[in-house]
């Protein structure tokens, strides 16, 4: 399946716009012999909001891990922001990862740090000695609606609030691309909806958003680009897609 045969998002028609992320014949086989991705081609553009859907083990997380070079592709090439990353030397990985803002299902907050400290941490370890740290942290927390919880501890917050802190931390360095790996996996429907609203807002401000998810309601309600993965292959790529293919039986 080549890039050209896939339905392209509207922006792709403009040749001046290079994809922010592109995969060219990417495969990933783990050392234990499991093949997680086969011959994946895809292109994601600056203003895209993409749902990455598929059953557990279909290869969604592997795709995310390849993007931030937590894993190295076994074959094919991956471009992020115009740079080929599969052969990128290790010392350049920090720069690559700073292009991304990443959140996970399990939030990954530091339990012994306050909300503000958690957000500031991302800036302190990447740009030590940064000026206006406090303002930047407050701004990021304002975006996620937690400007009044600066000095709370993570365990004093609800799950949704914790995920918002994680989002603020992922946003504070103004990444080009926002990756969310099952961000609503641990949250109830209402809270999940709030998180997705937030991601849409972030996308609206010009950040590419790629969200791997199981959450059918959210995908069907939002009606954005959907890339479906099955057994490591991209089986569907639709501009205003749904969780399941039209006419596909409910599981």
């Amino acid at each position: 399946m080549s890039v050209l045969t896939l339905p392209r998002p509207a922006l792709a028609a403009d040749p001046a716009l290079r994809p922010v992320i592109s995969f060219h014949g990417v495969g990933k086989t783990y050392p234990n012999g499991t093949t997680a991705l086969r011959d994946v081609d895809l292109a994601i553009y600056q203003k895209d909001f993409v749902f990455l859907v598929g059953a557990s083990g279909a290869g969604k997380s592997t795709l995310v891990r390849l993007l931030i070079r937590e894993e190295v592709a076994s074959s094919g090439r991956i471009f992020v922001d115009g740079q080929e990353i599969t052969r990128m030397p290790r010392r350049r990985l920090p720069k690559l990862r700073r292009k991304f803002g990443i959140v996970f299902q399990d939030f990954k907050l530091l339990p012994r740090s306050t909300v503000a400290q958690n957000v500031a941490f991302a800036l302190q370890v990447t740009r030590p000695g940064q000026r206006h740290l406090k303002e930047k942290v407050e701004e990021a927390l304002w975006i996620v609606g937690l400007e009044d919880k600066l000095h709370k501890w993570p365990d004093e917050l609800s799950g949704g609030e914790q995920q918002r802190v994680a989002i603020a931390r992922a946003l504070v360095h103004r990444p080009r691309i926002f990756l969310a790996d099952e961000p609503t996996g641990n949250l109830d429907p209402d809270t999940s909806w709030g998180i997705v609203q937030l991601l849409l807002q972030i996308n609206h401000r010009g950040t590419t958003v790629l969200m791997a998810t199981h959450n059918r309601e959210v995908v069907d309600l939002v009606r954005r680009r959907v890339i479906a993965i099955e057994n490591g292959r991209v089986v569907r790529d639709e501009m205003e897609g749904q969780y399941l293919k039209e006419g596909e039986a409910t599981i």
Binding site: R97, Q124, G129
Partner: protein, 301 residues
Amino acid sequence: MRRIFASLKFAAVSAIQNFRRNLGVSLAAVFTMGMILLMVGGTLLGRHTISTVLEAEQSRASNMRIYLDDGASLAQITDFQSRLQHDSRIQAVKFMNKDQAAKEAAQQEATFAESLRVLGSNPLPASLNVTLRQMNDLQSINDLAKSSPIVQQGNLATDYNPDVISKLNSFIVGISIVAGVVVVVLFFISLVIIMNTIRTAVYVRRREIEIMKLVGATDWFVRWPFLLEGMIGGVLAALVAGVFVAVGYNVLVTTLRHKLLFFPLQFDGTYLGLILLLTAAAGILLGALGSYLGVRRFLAV
């Protein structure tokens, strides 16, 4: 500049925090390392002290005493002395009479004067103390001495002991080898200890490291706090070891000097200083190296 300072501050704060959070493990490692450094320092000091003694012994071996028969007349002695003095192999000859011999013995051993009083007479012989130009000539001078009628008979003729030199030599080499092996083994043991301590510290902070890597912190930024923590441990261990080495060395030399009269034990302050510096350097190096190895596995993401 501002960034470097901020990085250093971050590393220092994290290192101290790490050290305190794992205070038990940290202190255990510090004391184990301290004991190891103490053994290293002790081994090196011991080797140095013994070598010094042995080297003194060796230089003394080029001296020989020719013990004179009590019946020898002064003329005979003077004659023999002048013969020796004209020998090209000999540097100097000094006559020591029975009283001088007794006096010397009394200086070396406090109880000698008492023994002398009990005996009622002086059993020590007069001697010609010969200094040779080369140690190799000891054998031939010994033969020469034995052939003289005014010299005591048999084994009592001189204090020459043919085995002493080669024995001393192999002893010095042996001690140095043993000390070297001990130091290397101890070095590796402490490296492993530091590595494990840092692994514990890394394990406690694995989430932080994961996040640091995720948001794009560099390897060195992640590594520095642990290197510093290892170095703090190393310095503290060296401090512990240094105090024990210095005090122990002082006490041992002072005590043994009175017990082992025949060994010219010396308190060598310069060498002690060198050992203390070496201990501190080894502590820092071990701490840093152990940490580097301990963190390495966790950075491989």
